[in-house]
Amino acid sequence: MLSNLLVQLINGIALGSTYALIALGYTMVYGIILLINFAHGEIFMAGAFVGLMLVTVFKVHIIFAFLGAMLFCMIMGVIIEKIAYKPLRRSTRLAALISAIGVSIFLSNLANLVFGAKPTTFPPTEEILFKIQTYELIAGAQITNLQILTIVTSAVLMVCLQYFIKKSRIGKAMRATSQDYDTAALMGVNVNRIISYTFAIGSSLAAAGGVLVGIYFGVVKYNMGFMVGLKAFTAAVLGGIGSIPGAMFGGLLLGIGEMLAVALGLSSYRDAIAFGILILVLLIKPTGLFGTQIQKKV
């Protein structure tokens, strides 16, 4: 029982770290333009497909495929913002939200058209990466080298992001813009450019998540962005939407919660439990775990 619990805990951390990567995009975009970017799950899906194509069709090394997918989605995210959200900047938030849902439906249908409805399999791990090995930990717990890779890659990306947001000039401008849009402009921040940066960074992290999930589960499908997107969004809300540490923590919590449900023999209810956690947190703390209400003093 205990060993099973520990195994699922590690599975949960691996799954949760990919949720966290994707959740960051939701939370960063929301922090700046107060939009739930419903197309974000499809960017994740696109990242998985681009990574897969680069490996199988173009025979690129997996590391370059990973970076290529990030670059592709970076550009894709920026273009989506320019086409679908920027023209609606001055209209109601609902209009932009509907536009986001539209982009999401468009992209998943486009993927269906191009790649078909059947799941496409990733090449076996030993061909593109390494042979899966399992390491014994204490009390019967196990971890695979693939899990270590997933967790470490996510962690490295998140540490880089945190450093960028805290220390760099652009990162500071992003925080300023998310706290007070007009005043950031009065400081000389080109707000449009900051919005582009936000979409670029968020989308590339989603692409990283897409490739990692593709390798981890071995399959890629046109509608894979829907459920994962919903989960990552849940993770962002759980942590407090707009908060970057919140998204990281929310992702991990959700992944672990889901896998512990599996450990307890409730695997058919794992989605229900994931969303149940959300409802519970929101009932107790409506702003999410790390969320703060920014006072708009006038």
Partner: protein
């Protein structure tokens, strides 16, 4: 230096500014006074590029501003202390000051200028690592002024710097306004506290429901019967 020419601003069906013209010469303090909703803040927001005029021109040192986005306006040498201070609440005092210097190319000198702001406002130095949202109202106002100085502006637009402050602090803020002006920065000052504003200003304009109704030397405005009655409570 700064010329606002026949500017109209509409918010939907509401006419916020109607044919407003005013001028600020280099080295001056110009006060813009008027009641709540008269269009004072809208005037500053249209100079800074946050709202686009529906008609008219805004010229700064001869170049047109009315089509410039806000960040370009800052680069030209115009900074604003916005109404209600608007410090970045979750960023530290130091980071707020760094944001003020965002457009500057001479990165090496920024640290010296931060020290100058700290010399002017020692309270800010004591709290430099604190999030700005935790400062008192007066400290936030000083931070907002310090932040606006960090871009080394030629002209500073100040929107109600004395609002919501204790009387002693109000006097201090107006002293600071004078000091900043004496060290070479032109100032366009929006105030509801007309008495204080006219006391420090060279010239003044009175706005009523989006229109300039009276203008002239500050000392004359302070003696003007209509101004006294409406704004000075005499």
């Amino acid at each position: 230096m700064l010329v606002v020419e026949n500017v109209d601003v509409n918010y939907g069906a509401i006419r916020a500014l109607v044919d407003v013209s005013l001028e600020v010469h280099e080295g001056e303090i110009v006060a813009l006074i008027g009641a709540n909703g008269a269009g004072k803040s809208t005037t500053l927001r249209s100079i800074s590029g946050l709202v686009k005029p529906n008609k008219g021109r805004i010229l700064f040192e001869g170049s047109e501003l009315q089509k410039c986005p806000p960040h370009k306006v800052v680069e030209m040498g115009i900074s604003q202390v916005p109404e209600g201070r608007r410090v970045f609440p979750l960023m530290t005092v130091l980071e707020n000051l760094e944001m003020g210097a965002f457009t500057r190319k001479d990165r090496a000198n920024i640290k010296d200028d931060i020290d100058k702001v700290f010399a002017k406002f020692p309270r800010l130095e004591e709290r430099k690592k604190q999030p700005a949202g935790t400062l008192s109202g007066g400290e936030q106002q000083m931070l907002a002024i310090g932040r606006a100085l960090m871009s080394k502006p030629k002209i500073m637009l100040m929107d109600e710097p004395s609002m919501g402050l204790a009387p002693m602090l109000v006097q201090e803020i107006f002293n600071i306004v004078k000091e900043i002006n004496q060290s070479g920065t032109t100032i366009l000052l929006v105030e509801q506290n007309a008495r204080m504003a006219l006391a420090v200003a060279n010239r003044g304009y009175v706005l009523e429901t989006g229109q300039v109704v009276i203008s002239g030397a500050a000392a004359d405005l302070a003696k003007n019967e209509a101004v006294q009655k409406a704004y000075l409570g005499v």
